[in-house]
Symmetry: D3
Subunit: 132 residues, 6 copies
């Protein structure tokens, strides 16, 4: 099994209504360092999982919708639910859809999956993985 | 599949009786940087795998039993067997038991697993994973 | 010359009114990884620059005033001026004052200085240094 | 399941003939930071997956064949196909063969697998895993 | 004294004619992780050392002349002298000249200096600093 | 001003008699990640501060006297005074002496200095610098 991974980051504000979150109910923010991984059982004709430049651009497009924003106002996180897990899930869903929409010769071979890791601080991270 | 991870560290002394370990038979030590990961197929009602504050406190309690100690004297590592693999296993066993003992609304959904990664130097690490 | 350094982090929201800041005029946020360094020409009687536990607690107290907050509402950053440089300066001023206020046997020897480094993303950081 | 990991690095030159690679068709290079992981369901009699010193030496021998070289001239990467994925696969194949060739008491228990991660820059990595 | 730092990287090939360099006489390569720091005694009217976006773009322009290239063919490193120290010096000279050429309101206050750090592997780095 | 830096690590045990150190009075240990930096105003005839291979070997020789040892028994740290600051000082004194003892064409130009940084955990480090 092969993995190709690319990294980028976003800087977002958010808060939580749920008292469960303690001090994180206050409006605060995070730099989220993002890893987007694509796994595939074999490589394509170019000896890669997929074009790394295309994968970096795909990740950047997904991140542009969140970067330098207050996620409390973002429709993807209704009811102020932008936990690190939900950010990872949102990006992985977007990445899977975008990869599935690529032309046959640009996308990974059948059986691929994606994983997004979101590191929000030196001591906390979350991830979500799913099939493409 | 979702993952939530938290990080902390301990500073321990230890040695090995087994000649297999070469210079590590001498009393030495390590800073072990620890990642504790909980994986779960879905999120709970708060949009998280589990409360990250509770998970960090749970990890800290497990680490307090090892931190600033000589593991040669610790009952969990009889016969001076505190290899990095055994430290990871010990912490993952403790984490799984502690998580299983949480109240239903505090613990991850059914099907969760834990993974502990122990990085003992810039060039060496070990991990252990098991079901909760 | 000796240096002692400790590290911690904060998660803050902020924005800028000045059009100079482009997309950072929008409300966003950052995880700021903080290094606080104390430099001193010699060590004290305990063979250290100062007590590392005291230094970590001192940094934590300074950070608690900023952590999980929107810096746009913080009096230290009037007119929404919480640039990374200003955050570093604010923390270094606070650290210098706190260290100068320690008892003689708890503070570093004469001639000490402090430096605060604030890393706001994998590609950007700022620092400020001054005498104690 | 246990994992033991060791890390090292190589400094290589390479290029690609395939126009698919854009500017990477030009002769350039990379520092590849390598993680070699061995996974095994149980530990051996020494409380480890395998001897970490032996594993580091095994990785170093594999890397010596690539280090400080132009991979365009290396027989393992015919037709200038030394993508990061192919470097990871080449090293994992070599590691699996070397581990399988160890004496029974030096190798991991039955059911082991290997994984090689190659980080070529702060924003790109690839991996390959297979059974031993 | 304030510091503003930005980070980026290049992937280059090179070799050395001088037998002093041992195996590095062979054509090989490196990923050079670059930090460009600007130090200034005070901040400008925008509460920053200089515009971080402008500084990142300035660094990227300097790096574009080296990235994905064989430095043995680059006029800045005659006689195959592209040591890590020389790469740092080359970039710092370029950065100082570019900053000095900015309009008065875009450049740092008088008394500024630049420092470039080049990390070529997990175990080696070089730096060069000079006045603007 | 040029800097050349190399990195390595040691794994040591130690403890402190001084009640000042709290829980660190207990026998514990640390992985110390070490940076050794040599600064020089100009480069030598090979376009480097000094031979990086020689510098790595010099650091390794200094570290071999401490690695896999209990510093409580080491003559360099009488009265169990092996604070991180004292470890940095000890290594910098050794490095300065070793560099001063090199032949004229192997050592840095006049005016060189050394700096040793010792990172003992993700949240603590110390350094010492002096002239060669």
């Amino acid at each position: 099994m092969f993995t190709l991974g690319v990294s980028d980051h976003i800087m977002i504000a958010h808060s939580f209504t749920d008292p469960f979150f303690g001090p994180a109910q206050r409006l605060h923010g995070a730099t989220c360092a993002i890893d987007l991984e694509v796994r595939a059982p074999t490589l394509g004709p170019h000896h890669v999982v997929m074009d790394i430049g295309a994968l970096r651009a795909l990740l950047r497009r997904l991140l542009d919708e969140l970067d330098y924003r207050n996620l409390d106002d973002h429709p993807a996180f209704a009811a102020r639910s932008s936990s690190t897990e939900r950010i990872a899930e949102h990006l992985a869903q977007g990445a899977a859809a975008a990869i599935a929409g690529l032309s046959v010769d640009a996308r990974p071979v059948a059986g691929a999956s994606v994983r997004v890791v979101v590191r929000e601080s030196p001591v906390a991270y979350a991830a979500y993985e799913r099939a493409v």
